[in-house]
C-alpha cells in the first residue's frame, strides 16, 4: 500500500529534513520511497512542505493532494492543509505554534508543544527529531528499532557529530508519544 505523508511548516523549522529523515528510514527498511519537497530556495522565509511516499510496490505517483497523514509545524500550514488530509488520517500538530484546534472530526489528531519540548531537552534545533520520534512511535509507519539502528547511516559525513543529539531528541519524542498519546 502507498502511504503519503505531508510535512509542513515555516522555512527554518526543519520541515524538509523531517521528511527526508522519514524517507531514509523507510528506504533503510527496504520500502520504495519518494520525497518531494516544495522548494523555495529563491525565497527566504515563507513556508515549506514536503510529501513522502512510502510503498511496498513501485510508486506510480510521488504526488498527492490528499495525504494520509500530516505533520504540521505551524498555524498557516494547518489552515492550508487541514482539509486535504484523507478521512481517518493522522494529523500531528505542533501546538507551540498552532493556536487553534483542528476543525476536522474525522482525523486522529495528535498534538505536542514542540518549541517547549525542544527547549526543555536543551537542543532547540532538534524539534524536528522530536516530532519524528513521536510520530513514528505512534504510527509505526517504519519500525522504530530499525530507525534507531540506522541513525549512523542517515547522519553520515559532516553531520555525524549530531547523531547523539538527534537520537536523544528522537527519544524525547518517542517518550512523549508513549506517555501522552493514546491510540484511539
Amino acid at each position: 500500500m502507498e502511504k503519503q505523508i505531508l510535512v509542513a511548516g515555516f522555512g527554518g523549522q526543519g520541515v524538509l529534513s523531517t521528511g527526508l529523515f522519514l524517507a531514509y528510514a523507510a528506504m533503510a527498511e527496504g520500502k520504495n520511497i519518494s520525497y518531494v519537497p516544495s522548494y523555495g530556495a529563491e525565497m527566504r522565509g515563507g513556508t515549506a512542505n514536503c510529501i513522502v511516499t512510502i510503498s511496498d510496490d513501485e510508486i506510480s505517483s510521488p504526488l498527492t493532494d490528499t495525504p494520509m497523514q500530516a505533520i504540521i509545524f505551524n498555524r498557516p500550514s494547518l489552515d492550508r492543509f487541514e482539509d486535504s488530509i484523507q478521512p481517518g488520517g493522522v494529523l500531528v500538530i505542533n501546538s507551540s505554534l498552532v493556536d487553534r484546534a483542528p476543525r476536522r472530526q474525522d482525523l486522529e489528531v495528535m498534538q505536542l508543544p514542540l518549541t517547549e519540548l525542544a527547549e526543555e531537552s536543551g537542543a532547540p534545533g532538534s524539534a524536528n527529531m522530536i516530532v519524528l520520534g513521536a510520530y513514528i512511535a505512534h504510527t509505526g509507519i517504519v519500525n522504530i528499532d530499525y530507525v534507531l539502528n540506522s541513525f549512523a547511516n542517515i547522519f553520515k559525513g559532516k553531520r555525524s557529530h549530531t547523531i547523539e543529539q538527534n537520537r536523544k531528541a528522537f527519544l524525547v519524542g518517542v517518550e512523549y508519544a508513549r506517555t501522552r498519546w493514546h491510540r484511539s
Partner: protein, 352 residues
C-alpha cells in the same frame, strides 16, 4: 547494487559524470542550481572542470568552445536562463557540436515562479532560437531517468553531432528517489572534426556563417536530412493500456507518472483509457500516437502549461479524432485531479 537516495538534479549530474562528461559550464538558477553545485564538488574529483560562467550567455558559449574541442560538455539552466541561451543553441545546432543542455524548468513567462511547469515545450521543440534547426529533447519522469537520460543524451549528442536537451519539471530536479547508479559507459565517438590543434592534419574549422546563397541552402538541407534520420530512428515513447483504449491521454515528464495512476483508477471505473508518454519530445513520437487510432475515439493532452504539446498531438492525429486539453500552471495536478479530467473528457466524448 544498492540504490542510493538522490535528488533529481544530483542524479542528472552524476549521470553526466558516468557518461564521461568532465566539463560543466553553468550559471545558478532555481530549480537547477543543484546540478551545478553537485558538479562543482564532483568534477574536480575526476579531474574535470566545473566553471561558473558569468552568465547563461557565457555558459552556452563556453559549451560551444568545449564541445568544439571534442569534449563531452554540459550546461544547465531554467526558464529565463534558457532564453538567454537561444542564440548560442542555434549556433551549436548549426555548427553540429554535440552537447547536453538541461532545462530544469519553472513557470513563466518573465521571472514567473519557480513552480514546476512544462511551459518551455514550444521553446525546446519548435526552436526558440532563430533559423531552422532542432534540438533533441528528452523528458525524464523519475530520478532514475534523470541519470539514465544523461547517459542517453551524451550518446545521442555525439552520434548525431547535435545538442540534446534534457527537460524536466523543476520538481523532478528537486525530489528524491532511490537510484541505481549505472556503470560507466565506454563507447566514445571519434571526433576528427574537433578543433584541438592541427598537428599532422589540415586545419579544422567550426563555423556557422554561410554567405553564399547556395551554400546556406545546402547547409540547411544537410541539417534537415540529419533531422529526418533522427526522426526515423529515435522517436521514443512509453505506452500503457493503449491496445483497446478509446480515450488516449498524452502526457510527459513527471506528470506522466501522475497520469499513470489516474489512468489506472479510471480504468477501474470502466473507462477504456490509455496513456502515451512521449520520452523524446523532439522527435515527437507521432507514430505511437497514430497507432492508437485503431481504437481511440478521443485524445486528451495533459500538460503543465496553457497548451503546447497539444499542437503536436493534433498534428499527429490529423483530424481523425478530437483532441482535448487539460492544463495547469505551476502545479503538478494530483492523481485525483487528473482522474477527474479524464472522467470529464470521457463524458464529453460519450465514452463513459
Amino acid at each position: 547494487m544498492a540504490k542510493v537516495l538522490m535528488k533529481g538534479n544530483e542524479a542528472l549530474g552524476e549521470g553526466a559524470v558516468i557518461a564521461g562528461c568532465r566539463y560543466f559550464f553553468g550559471y545558478p538558477i532555481t530549480p537547477q542550481s543543484e546540478v551545478a553545485e553537485y558538479l562543482a564538488r564532483r568534477l574536480p574529483q575526476v579531474e574535470g572542470v566545473f566553471l561558473q560562467a558569468e552568465s547563461e550567455l557565457a555558459a552556452i558559449n563556453m559549451v560551444y568552445g568545449g564541445a568544439a574541442a571534442g569534449a563531452r560538455v554540459m550546461t544547465g539552466s531554467s526558464g529565463p536562463g534558457i532564453s538567454l541561451k537561444q542564440e548560442g543553441i542555434s549556433f551549436i545546432a548549426e555548427a553540429e557540436l554535440p552537447c547536453v543542455i538541461a532545462n530544469i524548468s519553472r513557470g513563466g513567462p518573465g521571472l514567473g515562479g519557480i513552480q514546476p511547469a512544462q511551459s518551455d515545450y514550444f521553446q525546446a521543440c519548435k526552436g526558440g532560437g532563430h533559423g531552422d534547426y532542432h534540438l533533441m529533447v528528452l523528458a525524464p519522469s523519475s530520478v532514475q531517468e534523470m541519470m539514465d537520460f544523461a547517459l542517453l543524451a551524451f550518446d545521442l549528442a555525439d552520434k548525431y553531432r547535435t545538442p540534446v536537451m534534457i527537460m524536466s519539471e523543476g520538481m523532478l530536479g528537486q525530489m528524491m528517489e532511490p537510484v541505481e547508479v549505472r556503470e560507466p559507459v565506454t563507447e566514445q565517438y571519434a571526433k576528427p572534426w574537433a578543433t584541438n590543434g592541427c598537428a599532422g592534419r589540415k586545419p579544422n574549422i567550426v563555423n556557422t556563417l554561410h554567405l553564399g546563397v547556395e551554400e546556406l541552402e545546402e547547409r540547411n538541407r544537410h541539417l534537415f536530412r540529419k533531422y529526418a534520420e533522427i526522426q526515423a530512428r529515435e522517436k521514443r515513447a512509453e505506452t500503457m493500456l493503449t491496445k483497446d483504449a478509446e480515450l488516449v491521454v498524452v502526457a510527459f515528464g513527471l506528470l506522466s507518472r501522475v497520469v499513470k495512476k489516474a489512468v489506472i483508477e479510471a480504468r477501474k471505473k470502466g473507462i477504456k483509457v490509455g496513456l502515451v508518454r512521449p520520452v523524446t519530445l523532439w522527435p515527437f513520437p507521432d507514430e505511437h500516437i497514430r497507432e492508437c487510432l485503431e481504437t481511440a475515439k478521443m485524445f486528451l493532452s495533459i500538460e503543465i502549461n496553457m497548451g503546447q504539446m497539444i499542437e503536436d498531438v493534433r498534428l499527429a492525429v490529423n483530424g481523425q479524432a478530437p483532441v482535448e486539453f487539460y492544463g495547469r500552471i505551476g502545479v503538478v495536478p494530483s492523481p485525483r485531479e487528473v482522474e477527474e479530467a479524464i472522467m470529464a473528457a470521457a463524458e464529453k466524448g460519450g465514452l463513459v
